[in-house]
Amino acid sequence: MKGFLRDDDVMMNQATNTQTLASVDPNSVENRYVVNASQGQTSLYVPTTTGSEAASWNMYRVDNNSAENGSFSSSIHHHVHHSEPSSRTVQDGSNAASLATSSSLGATNAQPDYSSYTSYSNSAGPYSHGSTGYQGYYSGYQQQPNPSYSQPVGAYQNTGAPYQPISSFQNTGFYAGPTSYSSTYYNPGDYQTAGGYPSSSYTNQTTTWNGDNYANYTTHHQYSNYAPDTSGAYAAGNASANSLHYQQHYKQWADYYNQTEVICAPGTENLSVASASTQLAQVPGVSSGYPTSNSQAPTSFAPSWRPESSSSQTPLSQHGAPVTGAYDSYRTHGAPSFQNQHPSPVQPHFVKPLDSKSPYSNFQEQQKTACPQLPNLQHPVSQPAPQNYQPPAQTVQSSELQRVGKLQIQTNPRIASNLPLGLPKLEKEGLSNSAIAKPAYISVAQPKSSEKVLSNDAADSVFKAGVFPKSLKNYVQRALAQCKDEKQSAACQEIMKEIITKATSDGTIHTRDWDAEPLFPIPNTDMADKNNSQNPTPVSLFSKYKNSPAKRSRSRWEPLPEEKPVDRLGSLNNYAAKYSSRVHLNEEDQKPTGANSEGKSDVMKKFRFIQMEQKSASKTGQRQVKRQRLADASAADNGDVSSDSDKEQNLTAYYSGAIALANTPEERKRRENRSKRFEKVQGNRAENNHFKAKNAVTGNLYARRTTALVLSKSFEDGGSRAVEDIDWDSLTVKGTCQEIEKRYLRLTSAPDPSTVRPEEVLEKALLMVQNCQKNYLYKCDQLKSIRQDLTVQRIRNQLTVKVYETHARFALEVGDLPEYNQCQSQLKILYAEGIGGCHMEFAAYNLLCVIMHSNNNRDLLSSMSRLSDEAKKDQAVQHALAVRAAVTSGNYVMFFRLYKTSPNLNACLMDLYVEKMRYKAVSCMSRSYRPQVPVSYIAQVLGFGSGMPPNEGCGEKDSDGLDDCVEWLKAHGASLVADSNGEMQLDSKASSSTLYMPDPEDAVAHGDASLAVNDFWTRTSS
């Protein structure tokens, strides 16, 4: 049943792959790439990882022994044979030759790859055997995966389908498996932009790997490692910590390399398997062993181990440290190795023979050491070499495979924690079971089963120097008993893993009373689901903590929330299966002690060098790929590809005005729109460019707008950029209108370029307005439209200042304070930007405005204290300051003198205060003077004159002013008497009690007379 399902999946995979092949065909390199990738990925999905792996391992053995592997289809052999010789020539032959052969390889490879798929499906047999063997032990877990397993694959396929056309790379990356699935989700945000990372040495890798399909794995690691600190907390410390890591990594890598090589070595010898074949072999090996563990193990592993490793790595004192480090490094390095193979053997391999050297040289190196040792046998041969690394306390130097095995042993109990760790017996049994299921192993496995137990123990001890206490096992079981369904138990495991990890790290694992330990509350599985569907990795971290930046509410709307757990279980299955096989390998590895320690350092050195080379090489080579991938990834950006791709389509469709949302439910659309509001822009320039490029051609504003919106949507991770940071330049209009005159109309929609005037025309328009003789209303309207055009075109220069200054002056002249205030506040900003204008004049206006308008001492003080010394010397400003002094002291004589000598339009502002000042003055006079004051004096002092007091000479007593004054005084309730000479006198004593402030004649209900249209017309028409 499983086999069938898988068959189907594989077939589908193949189908899609062929599609890609067809579409991308012209480039054989790419072709190859794709195929390979798909190969690796299928192996991922297919729980037979072990199977496939076994296959790859077996192949050599089979070739050597050519006996046991009945279960494996001959196509594998065929494939191996097929590709190996050719690549052999690559190896042995000159570079030129390699080029030639490689191209053929590319062609031939396609077939073998497919055949290998079938082989996978075939290998279902052994796999299911193995799994059944384990089923007993992994009771609950095994069962779910089986039926559900096919689901994720199906899901991928579905989601993949729409994707296919976008790019093959994307696709392959996407296909790479559950891990990559989630990693595509996080990819765009997490590392392209996160500021913290660049400092770490990791990033180097990241960038290197990025272009590759398999970068996804790396990504994943990265993510899992850094996830909790997206906020950038990591940044600083990383470098130091990592550098330590790194050495280990490299070592590991080398080890790993050696090992794979060694394993292949026999094959090479006997079968003339070339390095290329090694690579091929490795690909499945890595992809299966490694990514599979990714898809599952990382979920639990990466986060939980990470801190420990980092904490313990430095001192290297803890037992667990090296291994965790090792594991980590293995994982990160697994990815590199993967990568390595890809860019170098697959892509550049053909293009650049140089790269192919890297594995090759290693291989040679390896051979050198391996060959002398093992002239007789193949698998024994393969074992000794790794054995070499193992002895040293199983720490850094232990062979990769060993480590993998170990780790699996460790983690297994936690993930499938039904199975208590320290039960070698069970494992042994399982082992033998699987061994039986796979006869290939029998010979090797059987005799060493005891040793295997040893390794198991060793693994444990590596982790925490000892077997877990029995009470802990009970505790785990108790905890698991709580769980009602597999989701819960999965989540439960995560938590338990954390607990145990923590206990281990702080050394309380043995001391703690596990029996008395309270059970943690069962986590909300829905939550966990969501998390899972986002990314398997951070589950353990974030299931409880919701504030992590990695978490986005969007996940709520992912359509396949149940997908992840299923995946995980599926991969658990893998895991179990692989576990057995790994154990075997372990044993094998463990057996004899090899002797290539001298070679190792060499290899290491070389390897390091090579890797560097590759990095740089691949960086350039991959940039292209990366761009493309990014662009596509942006669509895929966070996770759930299907919904996202849909979403993008929707968005574009939606905003370009089309309502064609045929296949989208209304509800979802609304949700998207809603969710978009909260999404933050993020700096992914690549995407930006991508979109820009896409839309640059169209002058259509809507398209641009779409861009911005899509941009804002696709940038959402990280939260480091706000919506305001959108590049609004792309939304700025360039006007084309040539009309000089334009009526002002408040915009209710995006401006239409055809109605917006460009700068030259605006300049003419300003001149026209300045020189025209029409009334203020017309000028105001024209100036407002000019201001609008400036604003939509984001023109901020001298012209802008001039426009605002002109408008402010016109407004002052007619006392249109609201308009003046608008202009003044804009001018303040413009001046602050350093754009020159009549700065002083408007500083003075500002000061006057504060004095006259608001009776706020604080405002006055602050605007006074802001004046520069230079400004204080300015005539207009000095005048304004003097006016202020006059006003605050109530010195009406001074005030009206200043009124008469006011520069610029200061008088216009002072006008606003004249009435008040006069009233104050008269009340003061009526109080102080006795018995009378001549009205002529009052008229002179209080600036009454014919119309425009400033134009009058001092002391001139013209009758107009006097009449005005009399009128004014009467209006304000003063009692006037004529003295003996017939001169009008203010009877101060009588007036002092009768003065009042009349209601302003032009008072209107809404408080602003200028808003009364009729009145305004009469006032402003000229």
Binding site: A236, N547, L861, M864, Q932
Partner: protein
């Protein structure tokens, strides 16, 4: 940043976490407050910050134990803030701190008693200081500084938590004072009004029950507000309260209070001893006081000009400027006394020319109209009793108490 070892870093962070959870569970507010006091730059805190920067995954440690993870919302941003603070990235530090503070008041709300008030004080203080520094950082990068504003709205939220009934109300005044500091710094003093209203109108809580230091700070700031409003009696009352209740050993505080109290007292006609000005280094007022004593308008104007920036910044410039009228009064009074010595019978009639001449001696070039205006104002403001006869240009002084003393009352306005 070399750090001894990963283990050491781990240990320090765990210690910190333990301290936190212990402090919370034992309600040990003193040690809790210490954990938040960034600006104290205490070595233990800095070492934790270093450890955090070294040890990248402190959040793991928080989550490892239920003991810590229940405070994860508080601790995680706190760690982030501490890290950023240590690395000098104050804007990030502020952001994280605000997140932390929000989580903390959430928790604080749930605590029945007010045991954690001191810790809340520290947070209120730290967030303000951090915001100020973050703003400085932003300003130096050419960005608009708005963190202090954000801190203000956060503290408003804290005020809301505290201002209700119950034991936590005691803390409201502290938060109010922090808010005052922010508003005064931002120049948005009008925002103080709502807080003040809530403090002063509350019947349920007597003002005197607040802690003394908060009362003094509160009175100082509200007194300053009254100075702005030129409500001198109220300003006098509040600032005097602050002066009499503040710690007499804190000379800096006393000086700050006197800086506003002296102009207020001056405008109420009460002059300080020179020794007081000397003791608290307030000599910028010395010439003002001398001018008032001598009726020397020139001296006053010079003094104002000399310290213009300072007075403008502290906001007493306008107050001091208004003393001009008192100086005129003093001058007229002096002329009156001289005339009285010469000819007591005509002393109450002051010719305008004489006053103009006197002003000319002081190098104040004013014409008759102006001086006449000033005389009317003096009469109008009741600084001089009498009337002005326009025809003869004579100030006719009242025979009884022609120059009434202010005696603590403000000049009529």
């Amino acid at each position: 940043m070399a750090y001894p070892s990963m283990g050491e870093a781990h240990r320090r962070i765990t210690d910190y976490l333990n301290n936190f959870s212990d402090a919370v569970s034992y309600q040990d507010v003193a040690s809790l407050a210490q954990l938040f006091s960034f600006s104290s730059n205490s070595p233990p805190l800095l070492s934790v910050a270093d450890a955090l920067n070294f040890f990248q995954d402190a959040n793991r440690l928080i989550k490892q134990s239920e003991k810590f993870s229940q405070y994860g919302e508080i601790l995680a941003p706190l760690f982030r803030s501490l890290q950023s603070y240590r690395t000098g990235n104050l804007v990030d530090a502020y952001h994280a701190f605000e997140k932390f503070a929000n989580a903390f008041i959430q928790e604080f709300r749930n605590w029945e008693s007010a045991w954690a008030l001191e810790a809340l004080y520290v947070i209120a203080y730290e967030i303000r200081v951090l915001a100020e520094r973050a703003d400085r950082e932003l300003a130096s990068n050419g960005k608009s500084p708005e963190k202090l504003k954000g801190a203000g709205s956060f503290l408003m939220k804290v005020f809301g938590v505290l201002a209700g009934k119950g034991p936590k109300r005691v803390g409201a005044l502290y938060v109010t004072c922090q808010l005052f500091k922010i508003y005064f710094k931002l120049g948005t003093v009008h925002l103080c009004r709502s807080v003040i209203r809530s403090i002063e109108t509350a019947r349920i809580f007597d003002f005197e029950e607040f802690p003394r230091r908060d009362k003094v700070t509160y009175m100082y700031y509200t007194g300053r507000l009254e100075v702005f409003n030129e409500n001198f009696p109220a300003a006098d009352h509040k600032l005097s309260y602050a002066l009499t209740h503040c710690n007499p050993l804190r000379e800096a505080n006393i000086r700050m209070i006197l800086k506003y109290l002296i102009p207020v007292k001056l405008s109420l006609g009460i002059l300080p001893e020179t020794s007081l000005l000397e003791k608290y280094n307030l000599l910028e007022y010395n010439n003002v006081v001398q001018a008032l004593k001598r009726g020397d308008l020139r001296l006053l104007r010079h003094a104002l000009q000399e310290h213009e920036d300072q007075f403008l910044r502290s906001g007493v410039y306008l107050v001091l400027e208004k003393l001009e009228l008192q100086v005129y009064q003093r001058l007229v009074k002096k002329i009156y006394f001289i005339q009285k010595q010469k000819d007591p019978s005509k002393a109450h009639q002051l010719k305008l020319e004489v006053i103009v001449k006197a002003l000319k001696w002081l190098e104040m070039d004013m014409d008759l109209d102006e001086v006449e205006c000033i005389m009317t104002i003096l009469i109008y403001k009741n600084l001089v009793k009498g009337y002005f006869a326009h025809k003869s240009k004579v100030v006719v002084l009242s025979k009884q108490d022609p120059f009434p003393k202010l005696n603590g009352k403000p000049v009529n306005s």
